[in-house]
């Protein structure tokens, strides 16, 4: 609000909301988020890490920055927003993510972006076990190390692992593709290494660019299921 008490006009891309979440319950916080105008920017701070389901079902086309970290199942079923979390995230952040983008600058817990159907989820820090579990069309980029069984049960979509993988990579995957750079500790059952074709290389490069990362594409290897499901995944 300006000095003369007049509220500034809301312009697309203009910072219009600062939300202090510390006194709010998760229901109150999610309600405040749902009332934000389309096309605007917002900052949220002070979210207690114990809150579950922050931003669950969030469906606004806005730029949202969460200052701090979030608890389990944050932004589950998220759609259309461009979300940035400046620190870490708990269990299953971005579960069933539908569209838009989600950037986690810190470390995240297990099952990040599990069952994600679309959109782009990027983790700049380390990811826990089962990153991208059951991925169903979304795109996930983990810049740093990841834990056990990344890409397990993948059905479609793309998982990019930028600094080595744990054991059981892609265990039980039936579709999609995993691009891994660095040491692969062990492959899961039903997974094979495949040559990276030009189309894959182009797609990987574009995906990394969207995730705000750059590296030598030649350092990556690709992995696909031995026997893809007939309903398939994205190639």
């Amino acid at each position: 609000m300006t000095a003369d008490g007049i509220e500034p006009e809301q312009q697309p891309g203009t910072l219009v909301a600062e939300i202090d979440a510390s006194p709010l319950s998760v229901a109150e916080l999610n309600y405040r988020l749902s009332q934000l105008d389309e096309g605007c920017k917002a900052h949220v701070s002070g979210i207690p890490s114990s809150l579950s389901g922050v931003g669950a079902g969030f469906d606004r086309s806005i730029d949202l920055q969460v200052v701090g970290s979030v608890g389990p199942f944050a932004f589950m079923l998220g759609q259309r927003a461009k979300i940035e979390i400046t620190q870490g995230a708990g269990l299953a952040c971005g579960h069933s993510f539908h569209s838009g983008s989600l950037l986690i600058r810190g470390d995240c817990g297990p099952h990040v972006a599990c069952y994600a159907l679309g959109g782009l989820v990027t983790v700049y820090g380390k990811a826990g076990d089962y990153a991208g579990y059951g991925l169903s069309g979304g795109e996930v980029v983990i810049r740093s190390r990841c834990g056990l069984a990344a890409g397990a049960a993948m059905r479609s979509g793309t998982l990019v692992l930028g600094n080595g993988t744990g054991e059981m990579l892609g265990q039980g995957m039936t579709g999609g593709v995993i691009f891994a750079r660095g040491t692969v500790a062990g492959l899961g059952e039903g997974v094979r290494a495949v040559p990276i074709k030009d189309a894959d290389s182009l797609r990987l490069g574009l995906l990394l660019a969207r995730a705000g990362l750059k590296t030598q594409l030649s350092e990556f290897k690709a992995f696909r299921p031995l026997r893809p499901a007939s309903s398939g995944g994205s190639s």
Binding site: S52, H95, P110, C114
Partner: protein, 329 residues
Amino acid sequence: MSILDEIVLLAPEFRVLEALDSLEPLDSLAPPSSMGPHAIEPSPNSEPARQLPLPFVLRETSQEQVGTRWNELCGLLKSYGLAIQCPAAQLQGVPGNSVPIRMAKQSIDESFLAGEFQSADIIVLSLRSVRLDSWAFPPELGSEANLPHWIEAVRQACRATKPIAIELPMGVDTKTLEKVVAAPIDILSLVADSNMPDEIIVESLVRARSILRSHSQSDLPIQVQSRHSQPDHLIKLLGLGGSVVAIDGVLNELWAESPDLPRGFLSKVESRVNEKSECPIHRKIRLLNQAFFSAIDLRCSSPLENLGQRLRALSDRAEKIAQIPFLGS
């Protein structure tokens, strides 16, 4: 302590079973003089919108199975006040104004679909994997301590406007049941596999009701799905602690009468319907409801009074949370 010892301790539940065993077989049961305040005698030729209370639900019967008469079946469900449950991804195929309550089932190991949560009246979260036959606590949740977080996140995703049920297999261990009961759920759903012995079904249901009592959750409804197809068996499951039972076993017998599903069955149904007869679905559902309310009339002692109260509690809860009007006068 063995399972048999547990059943002995829960003897009061079996007084209810004995009472139900003493009822006459359905075919010879005289229509009661009063069917209670909550029932309306349905007429095959009546207009839709006759409604009955909600002790029964249709699960696992799909549009694919019924074919082109799906809308007609949904209208029939509405005339008897029956809820329908189907996988969340198929819920759009259930016309919203043709059934009283639509329940969307979401399995733990599938992507959640935002659109279906908006249209469902009740959300059923199944902890059973669609890919694995045997039961194991889902790895997606990490540990049982994360179960309340998951439920809360789903509740937030649908803006806390819909009741949430958790589905478990019959025979699940007590520790898991206790963790689920301690989580913020609205309905407990227990599902029996097709080859599960009756002893396990009975024990699981009675044990679940006992655990609810010990956690001060006596009002929590239990939805039961089993393979039973005889109306009196379903009534017994209500007497043993179920609040709502699935009647798919009853209807599956009707589907099985014709090998040429779905068209063969439906043509047989059409050929039977005339001014003086009912179609098999009408008759079976009418008998179920007659038997149920007759049991309440004949046995006014506390075990069955509690049964009626539990059912009323279910409908009241649905009315408050999902804003679905209580079905019945």
